[in-house]
């Protein structure tokens, strides 16, 4: 009996041992060096970076007072506290935001993090004329500081002893919580120079810090020593990361990037797998090494509602019926998620509907009914692939509808400047896209469709839509805190705008996570606003 018991005990222990090692909750190696490739070099200064590539690169190094939950999909749209103890207390009719800084936080160089650093960080934004500074012009005293660059911002009051930060706005601003989670206001130490530090980034507060930058070639990360020493425990909302080092290199050719992943020379590519390999890679690796991700954006064709022929709603509706998502899906090689509304999926307030399912016959009928007298139009498109082809397709569709079309393709660097300049002649219709700044519907409605946003230059409301009732709705919803009531309001607004059809939205472009076989794909988190989460990469 004794021998049997011993054998059984050994057997059980062995099974337990096997069980533990194979089904570990975090079964997977800790440590290692992650190698990644980017196709374009982001600006590695949190105050200046205005692209998802840049945000993704600094999501886990620079922490603002608030941040986005490190989760996929809809969960990732939730704002959670980072350097602040909790979400802001909003008072004074939505004009005052109060937060408290957590205690004991330090930058990677050992400097303690203080409440007054927030004021310095915002001031730095204005001093270097950051493209993100307009988000903070609503703070009392900010505009004056922007012009004079001195004297501080009166609307920001901080107390280093208690860690209290009080921000006063000129008007209630429902998007401000999201704006506090933007990388632009990730805290940096006092005395950080008011110039681009992209080649020598400031000290970090997050789990990783940027160790070295070779401009045009790449950069690398190591673990931030202060994270283990204290920051990590103080901020449970931000994970600590599995790998010890991360080395990113610049590989401009995305086909080469794919090649390197397949040959296991690189662990991960940040860039979207190029169109001509997309189907092949997806077919071969989906589920094991490849995953489609959905950033929040809308791609659309705008129509100038202030000028014939697009001042007639029937014509605009005809265009919406005429555009065929199936064709566009092919043009984007399957990298398109089709939709016909302004708010994309993943955006709070999005409720799927389609007022204009493709129907060329109906389109032509509406067009005939409207019978526009001015049928000669200019179609504008950007010269970047594949958007240039979308524009060419659109021009073809308009021709089929009955217009006399002239297609103008403009260099990517000038495109938005030209279509945003109201004095450009023949601004009839054309291609455009809008990528979210943060997951708040106002970020789409206000710049794209609010009459108040129409400006003689740098105009983002290319449809020049100016409906007073809808303008008022945008303003009202924009001033309130985002809750389920507001989300319903936005869903309704989406419908109301599409009934007027100032735009012909056709969907959003996906991106992808492609890793080699050493990385555990399931663990990789893609936050729709910030991109892939470096702390989630783990070797199998």
């Amino acid at each position: 009996m004794r021998k049997l018991q011993a054998v059984l005990a050994v057997a059980v222990l062995t099974m337990v041992a096997i069980g533990l090692s194979s089904c570990g909750g975090s079964g997977g190696k800790e440590g290692g060096t992650l190698t990644g490739s980017y196709a374009s070099f982001p600006e590695l200064d949190p105050a200046l970076s205005y692209s998802q590539e840049g945000w993704m690169a600094m999501y886990d190094t620079y922490l603002p007072l608030l941040t986005y939950k490190h989760a996929d999909g809809e969960e990732g749209a939730e704002v959670v506290p980072a350097l602040a103890e909790s979400l802001p207390e909003v008072s004074n009719g939505g004009k005052t935001y109060t937060l408290t800084l957590r205690k004991g936080l330090k930058y990677s160089d050992g400097t303690p993090v203080k409440a007054s650093d927030f004021a310095g960080t915002v001031e730095r934004l204005f001093k270097i004329n950051s493209p993100g500074s307009p988000f903070y012009e609503g703070i009392v005293g900010a505009e004056r500081f922007a012009k004079t660059k001195s004297g501080g911002i009166s609307g920001i009051k901080t107390d280093d002893a208690t860690g209290k930060i009080e921000i006063e706005l000129t008007q209630p601003r429902g998007t401000f919580t999201n704006e506090l989670a933007m990388l632009f206001v990730a805290l940096v130490p006092p005395g950080t120079p008011a110039k681009s530090l992209a080649n020598d980034p400031p000290p970090a507060t997050g789990p990783y810090e940027i160790a070295g930058v070779e401009p045009g070639k790449g950069w690398s990360y190591v673990r931030n020593p202060q994270w283990a020493k204290g920051n990590g425990d103080a901020i449970p909302e931000v994970p600590s990361g599995h790998v010890d080092k991360i080395a990113i290199k610049l590989v401009r050719n995305s086909a080469t990037q794919v090649n390197e992943i397949e040959r296991n020379q690189t662990d991960w590519m940040q860039t979207l797998v190029p169109a001509d390999q997309y189907a092949k890679v997806k077919g071969k690796y989906e589920g094991t090494q490849f995953r489609v991700e959905h950033p929040i954006s809308t791609y659309f064709f705008w129509m100038n509602t202030q000028k014939a022929p697009f001042d007639d709603v029937k014509v605009r509706q005809a265009v919406n019926y005429a555009v065929d998502s199936e064709a566009l899906e092919r043009i984007y090689a399957g990298q398109l998620t089709a939709s016909h509304q302004i708010l994309p999926e993943g955006m709070p307030g999005h409720k799927t509907f389609d007022l204009y399912p493709h129907d060329m016959a109906k389109a032509k009928k509406l067009f005939a009914e409207a019978d526009p007298s001015d049928r000669k139009i200019t179609v504008w498109t950007i010269n970047e692939s594949p958007n240039d082809k979308a524009g060419a397709y659109y021009a073809g569709v308009l021709g089929e509808l009955g217009f006399g079309v002239k297609l103008k393709t403009i260099n990517a660097d000038n495109y938005f400047g030209i279509i945003g300049n109201l004095s450009t002649p023949d601004l009839d219709t054309g291609w455009a896209d809008w990528l979210q700044d943060y997951p708040h519907p106002n970020d789409f409605f206000q710049p794209l469709l609010d009459g108040e946003s129409i400006a003689p230059t740098y105009n983002t409301n290319t449809a020049q839509m100016d409906d007073p009732k809808l303008n008022a709705k945008i303003a009202r919803l924009g001033s309130e805190e985002l809750g389920s009531k507001q989300e319903d309001g936005y869903a309704q607004l989406d419908r109301e705008f599409m009934e007027q059809a100032p735009l012909a939205p056709y969907g959003s472009i996906v991106t992808s996570t492609f890793v080699n076989d050493e990385i555990d794909l399931e663990k990789v988190i893609y936050n729709p606003t910030m991109g892939q989460d470096l702390t989630s990469f783990q070797f199998k």
């Binding site: 169109a275 001509d276 390999q277 189907a279 199936e326 043009i331 010269n383 103008k408």
Partner: protein, 337 residues
């Protein structure tokens, strides 16, 4: 023995050069190919170079195939399987007929190549004559100006000009060209190539000028214009002809480079160079879209180069001046790229 004009002798020599004749034949064939574009487009392919066929289907040997499949992959060459439609397949996600585009694109490539070279030849001849004949200050100014252009990495200049003009077009007095106009690459390349012709021409004028027939003309009371265009120019003729041929080769390659990089021919127009550019995006899945336009350029430029060499040999097989001038011209693509 009857005296024959040097032109006739040159012609005889050329006729005996079989390689040069073959090259001329190849070029002629290519010319016919591109001139046949409207014929092919209407009668065989039933489409135009810019018409989109993204959602269409074609019937090939009884089987129905999509022009562009769901993943955006264009159909490959069908040859005569669909009656000549999509002979070389579709050009990408827009489903345009590659063969039709190749033919029309060839017209534009040739037009720009010849047009730019013609412009450069005209400018260079005038500048070379003026500088070589008048010498002194005229020569100094012209030569310095050419030096400046010479020091410019030429491709950079062409790219910069292409960018500048492709966006807003060109507006000089009554001259008004929109950004997408084909004349813009013609002007840019012609302008940029001028120094490469002007220098050797000037050199030749300088030496011709010392010869007796010029002295004789001046003694007879010929004015500067008569001397330049009546006496000097005819003696430059053979040089110019050879330069023109070599220039066409060089400029076709320069246009291809510019269009490939996106600053030459603008959509919706297409040239062989821009077709290589758009084909490059699909190089792993549809390499023929890159290979074929490039091969066309290679064949065309090769035929022009070989024929140009033949011309040179025929016009003056031992001419040191021509050889020097040839060597002194930083050659095809060499410098102008």
């Amino acid at each position: 023995m009857e005296g024959r004009s040097p032109w006739y002798l040159a012609y005889r020599r050329l006729r005996r050069n079989r390689l040069a004749l073959a090259a001329a034949g190849l070029f002629a064939a290519i010319l016919v190919f591109v001139l046949a574009a409207p014929l092919w487009a209407h009668q065989v392919a039933h489409t135009t170079p810019n018409a989109n066929h993204t959602l269409e289907k074609v019937e090939v040997d009884g089987e129905v195939r999509e022009v562009v499949d769901r993943e955006g992959k264009p159909v490959g060459p069908l040859w005569l399987g669909a009656g000549g439609r999509f002979f070389l397949g579709a050009d990408g996600t827009l489903g345009r007929d590659e063969m039709v585009r190749l033919m029309y694109g060839g017209r534009i490539s040739l037009l720009i190549g010849f047009g730019a070279t013609l412009l450069a030849t005209l400018l260079a001849t005038v500048l070379g004559l003026l500088a070589g004949y008048y010498r002194g200050w005229t020569d100094a100014t012209i030569s310095r100006a050419l030096d400046v252009l010479w020091s410019f990495p030429v491709t950079l200049l062409a790219i910069a000009l292409g960018l500048a003009l492709a966006v807003g077009g060109l507006r000089i007095g009554p001259l008004h060209l929109s950004g997408g106009s084909i004349w813009i690459p013609v002007l840019i390349i012609g302008f940029v190539y001028t120094p490469y012709m002007a220098r050797p021409i000037r050199g030749q004028v300088l030496s011709l000028r010392e010869q007796e027939f010029v002295e004789a003309a001046v003694a007879q009371g010929a004015g500067p214009l008569r001397v330049m265009f009546g006496e000097l120019l005819p003696n430059l003729a053979s040089t110019l002809i050879v330069f023109f041929a070599l220039g066409v080769a060089n400029n076709m390659l320069l246009e291809a480079t510019l269009s490939f990089l996106g600053v030459g021919v603008q959509p919706p127009n297409a040239s062989w160079g821009s077709m290589i550019g758009s084909g490059f995006e699909l190089i792993t899945s549809a390499p023929l879209l890159t290979v074929i336009p490039g091969a066309m350029i290679l064949l065309t430029v090769l035929s022009v180069n070989v024929f140009g060499e033949g011309l040179r040999d025929a016009l003056d097989p031992k001419s040191k001046v021509l050889l020097e001038a040839h060597a002194g011209t930083p050659e095809p693509q060499g410098t102008a790229v």
